[in-house]
Symmetry: D3
Subunit: 314 residues, 6 copies
């Protein structure tokens, strides 16, 4: 496959890409044309269809299309002038080529997660966790595939799983080292803390904020998801339910970061530390990956509000 | 009835009060005694039972008890030395004498609220509102009785109703004057914006924060209550559901005031304005009531972060 | 009239516009030319006069000029190449065509305002209000014509009147529903709260911040205007004068929003709520008007610090 | 004179004090008595008049009274039991003994100020300054006598003068060392920057916030005082008037410190620096004076938000 | 030994305590007496020596003294009336009885720390760490004994070691799980991050802020200690030195928490997370220990700015 | 010399400039070329070397090079097309022509500083100051040459000296006028307060943040420099050392401005006022210099967070 990141000015191209956006515009002369945004896992490419002839099949945004045209340069960026478009069928392309994906093996990560799940002993929490992670195949499939962000950290296929595993592991460390922590409660909360993102952000290839995502946010959505499931588990202790839901609500740590309550129990605090640490360390890792290896100071970062620098190698 | 606010040093007393708190303590000499907090609608009174004899019947905190003893003065405060206690039966006392209550007629306020409810036309919202305010008798009874706060504004019987009515009326004003507002959505949101307080704060006479109240907060609780009921109404439009839930989530206006989302739609903004205005105007009214009428400057108020002054009379 | 918003690339044009800005520049070759910004109520247009010949009459910024030329396209924007310019006389054009104007009838709004004015009973406040709104014809004319902002909300002819009326009406609602409020004081404060803007922002067509506006601000200017007039009314009670001036000083609600004092009396609070609500609801309305009706999420707004969305229709 | 700071438990006393507060209270037995707060420059003393007999002349708060009684100790504080009270006449006491007063000579400080006043050359500023500091005898008398605060820094007779002189001198330093500064403008602004305090705080012996002080603040009041006087000076340049008023409005430097505008011109910045430096250095000096000389770390200070320490001696 | 926490009103007592404070005061009658604060590991006790006779040996604050007297009750607190005092010699008492001490074994914790120290491979870091933790016996002794705070978390003997170990272990976890982290750098930084506290807080029994502590703070002091030692290690790489010192400077994470730089490298971030998590989890543990086990909600905590609650047991 | 600020489109040029940056890039066709940034004291100029022939000598960034080429215009900016480059020798150019330099005479300023240095009497402070400013020739040379900033205020040769002198003089003013100030301590602190900038920012012509600058900051670096030197002065009093170092650490005044401690002693406060005032007044002066003299309002400034205006002339 010819990846977008490798294209050069002037080359003729026939390749399948994901059509991320499609706009019908008019030239000043009043003639309609298409302005497209094509995507593969290496990036995006602006494309134009100036002649809406027979060679251009009907397609929509989010379709995979086979495009035929020439790469040109416009205002320092590459652009594709498309002559033909054919809509592709499932099987003609491999989704992984078109979307960013975790560098780690998804099946392996999920297996690692199951080990922690199997250690939960409190019977109601166990029932709750199993009802999602063992019995709900649709959930499991979607969970493994989802990203944890539109951009920033873990914004790729498998990202939600990778982040959840990272948080669960750090919570496991804390439960082992600070025995006052209720281990089952903390691990359960870690497993569920970001599942609201499965509604907040749409599935790949779109991976964008949904209407509920913007209006309600993953903190509310995830807590309500848990609340609904808990009501179906007989005799789930009210106190434990409150604690679990509190952990999810409070996991951003501060009201100004979108948690409607600050952590009031030690497990909510521990979850907040683990979530924050995993998210920020991964953000740093992605910053390093996205910048030239030879550059030490990789510039000001708005999220961290400071300049960032690679450190001496191990 | 002899109210707490009228008691004087030295008087002999036999009267029924609500026992708000009960502690079993020991004197330095090691003898057990009771330290009680008695309450009626005019205030609270510290009381001691030094001799735990036959004359002291068994009772618990939150019981209504008939106490027999003498008022004394201790460190500038009045205190009651109790000789006898008898636990009272329902019927021996009138709850209204023991708890703060709205100065307005509760039945009248509820009738006024029903007028607004009957104006809602959008069928799903109508079904949702009716399911609470018309069909759910337990809800209606509890709603009318509940306070809207432990202290601060509307912290009395009927307070939740009075505040809800105040907010609904101001929202009605705004819907009438700014036609871009979706009237049915805004009135519905106003009707439900604080119902989470029915779980956040326990019923009178206790009127204190509950475990869910402290861990989850009325914003989350109320939104989840609506979410649960919506799922039972067939074909409730997802977009409308998001909007309504968003209004409740966002009604504190800012993340740092406990809303996990800022108002993104005009109805959420309008609800925030109405809630804020009714709450703060009522807080001022209660400050005026609680202070000497002749004093103009009634001192620094931490909630408003300024000194407060009565203004010239109309 | 051919409005700027309707022009197309290539068309020949002869039309009267307001010249908002005029710069004399030099080409690289050292030849002088004019760079103009033309305006009508539909927008602005960049224009160039490359040849400063006899056909170009003498004119200044803020003159109405009749321009003769051709529309071209430069870097995706339209531009006018002007061949001839004639300065227009009053009468040749209608100001309303060249500036944004309230969608409501100005005379009707002012009549509505007078109804509230006539309800003021306190004699000193009545004298003060009448001295501006009934006896001072220059004030009344300028007030009706003024905008309430350079951009943001109510930034059009009649905007100050429209906003003042909106605030007065909401204050009237509050005075009616919270009887502790001193109605005459609140309505008077509402009527005057933004009159400082008449000095802070210059008259249309300029509608820009003045030197006093930037150095002193409308809060100070308006309060001083009232203070000066009060000194001419015999026996105006000092206390009432302090209260009225305080309402104006404090109407932004917080020090960080430019009020040198926080609201200390209930009327100042009520005015702050009404001002804030009317300003923000109108800002939302203008955001909706400025964006494509079919787009639900109209993007991040810096003033509200959140993404904004249209809600379901009534 | 027997000062309050030197009184001892048990001593018999006949002395003149200022009666700062007077309350008529009732004992539990229902008998009326007076609770007084007596003051001299060394502090205050709680006093009681238990028998309201002939020996107790009629007097009010803020009167100077000759009291006759015995010092006792109550809850670790001294208290005076008064037997006789006689209201004093002017001449029987010297005000300086009853109020805190500047350690510097008031006449000398005013002379030093006049030197700076005489250096002002710009004719309109000169006229304005002279109209207060040379021609307005009442102003001059009151200005010299006034404090600059209720407590904190310069809260004593002559305090406003001492602070004004300190600020003028530092402004003079800055004008000399940063020639871009308009010297006359800066010195004039410094001379007037706190004159609003003459209305914000009542005269000694009361020295408390007034109604206008609390509602309007010295920043607004002072600026309006200048504005009013400027209108009486023919042809005072509008630009210069704006600049001078801006300096006063902006002299607190930040909106959150009560300035409705931030400094926009260099003179306003310089004034803010000088005012801030003189106020804080003097606050430190007063903290040192109020604490034991042998103590190095004199504790946490809320104004500075840090622990404060004396430094090594010169 | 008779601990302070077990004393009762009226008992006669002869016991050794640490004299934390000693003041010489005068009764109203002018007679000198001593007011002492006695301490053991269970708390403090107010004590008075009314008769300064032969039975009272010479002693100073921070001496261990054997006191002979009777426990009485004064204003709801116990107080000791001392008849005799004898200054004790080393050997007569065991320091551990008089000061709070870690619940963990100090020698064991130090051994655990040495394991991590031995894993450091980078030669310059190894030399630096060894120069403190292996070769500097005085340092090792003082480090093991020191507390990490005056109060709040780890404010006991062995506290600095316990906290350092907690942070090192969490850093070890992070280095193992996020391979981009430079392990040697992070572990070294963790080992040194709070050594400045050895100068900031005086040794037990005083355990109070020192003059350098208050003026310079442990962040600066610790970084300078490392900087000084680094200069003695030949060819220590400048870049590595900068990174290590940066980690210590930045370990509070934000400027407003006293770090003069925000974390710019991933090791500084990781250290900040580990320090924060260990400190806050330990603070929670100490809050639980200090409160009644049966109470769920243990009240508002100023450090966490929320109410705190025990969670369900494991 | 032909300065960059005077170049015009089309002119042929042969001149020596400092090569601030040098990048080797490739055209789309794959051919290598140089993209340079040339600098003199009047500004910078983008330059290209399209043909890497014999005429282009070997050179690096930060070399002075003699360039031969033609000025062209590209996207509204001037650009130089270079045909030949020759690397220059010291002596062929005068550094002062290539870098911004103080408008004041460096030798004169240093002499003025020495007067203050000679007034220091406290023997240890005197020894410390002399060890830098009199005995350390390298320090003196570098100090005189250094800038005080990368951009903002005093970002030119001699800037550190000019700013230090400005601060010392204002401190001298304060020591003279507030006698409680320890003069020697304050003047010494002022002399050293920014010397950390000599490591934080590299020497001209680079004048950019160094690795230690970014990781440690000039506050830490400067304090450590003083700490190191103090250790070499026998019997330097610990208290005085703490005070001096505290002044440097605290001279930014607030934690959020990068000081790890707030000023706790009066000299630290005074230094903070002087540093702040000199820096901001100079920033204003540079803003005036950088803008058109005829423009009154010179626009919004992010550092001051307000619009800035020239004031009326003296």
């Amino acid at each position: 496959m010819r990846y977008i990141g490798e294209l050069r000015d002037g080359e003729m191209l026939k390749e399948v890409y994901l059509c991320k956006q499609k706009q019908v515009l008019k030239t000043k002369a009043g003639k309609s044309y298409y302005s497209l945004l094509l995507q593969d896992k290496t990036g995006t490419l602006d494309a134009k269809v100036w002649e809406l002839s027979n060679g251009i099949e009907t397609f929509d945004a989010m379709d995979y299309i086979c495009v035929d045209g020439q790469v040109t340069s416009f205002q320092n960026s590459l652009q594709l002038n498309i002559k033909r478009i054919r809509k592709c069928q499932e099987g003609e392309y491999s989704e992984e080529d078109y979307m960013p994906v975790s560098t780690k093996n998804i099946a392996d990560m999920f297996k690692e997660l199951l080990v922690f799940i199997d250690q939960i002993k409190q019977p109601h929490l166990k029932k709750l966790v199993d009802s999602f992670y063992k019995e709900d195949k649709d959930f499991v499939k979607a969970f493994q595939y989802h990203s944890a962000a539109k951009s920033v950290h873990h914004g790729f296929i498998g990202g939600l799983l990778e982040h959840t595993l990272g948080v669960v592991k750090m919570c496991d460390y804390m439960a082992n080292n600070y025995p006052v922590i209720n281990r089952d409660l903390l691990i359960t909360a870690a497993l569920f803390h970001d599942i609201g993102k499965m509604s907040e952000i749409s599935r790949f290839p779109e991976n964008d904020y949904t209407d509920d995502g913007q209006l309600l946010g993953h903190i509310y959505i995830g807590t309500e998801m848990i609340g609904e499931r808990i009501r179906k588990i007989p005799n789930f202790p009210a106190k434990l339910s409150n604690e679990l839901k509190h952990c999810i609500l409070a996991h951003h740590g501060e009201l100004e970061y979108g948690s409607p309550k600050k952590p009031a129990i030690i497990e909510a605090m521990a979850l907040n530390f683990a979530d924050n640490a995993d998210a920020k360390l991964q953000t740093m890792i992605e910053l390093f990956q996205a910048s030239d290896e030879k550059v030490e100071w990789i510039g000001y970062n708005r999220y961290f509000e400071t300049n960032i620098r690679r450190s001496s190698e191990n």
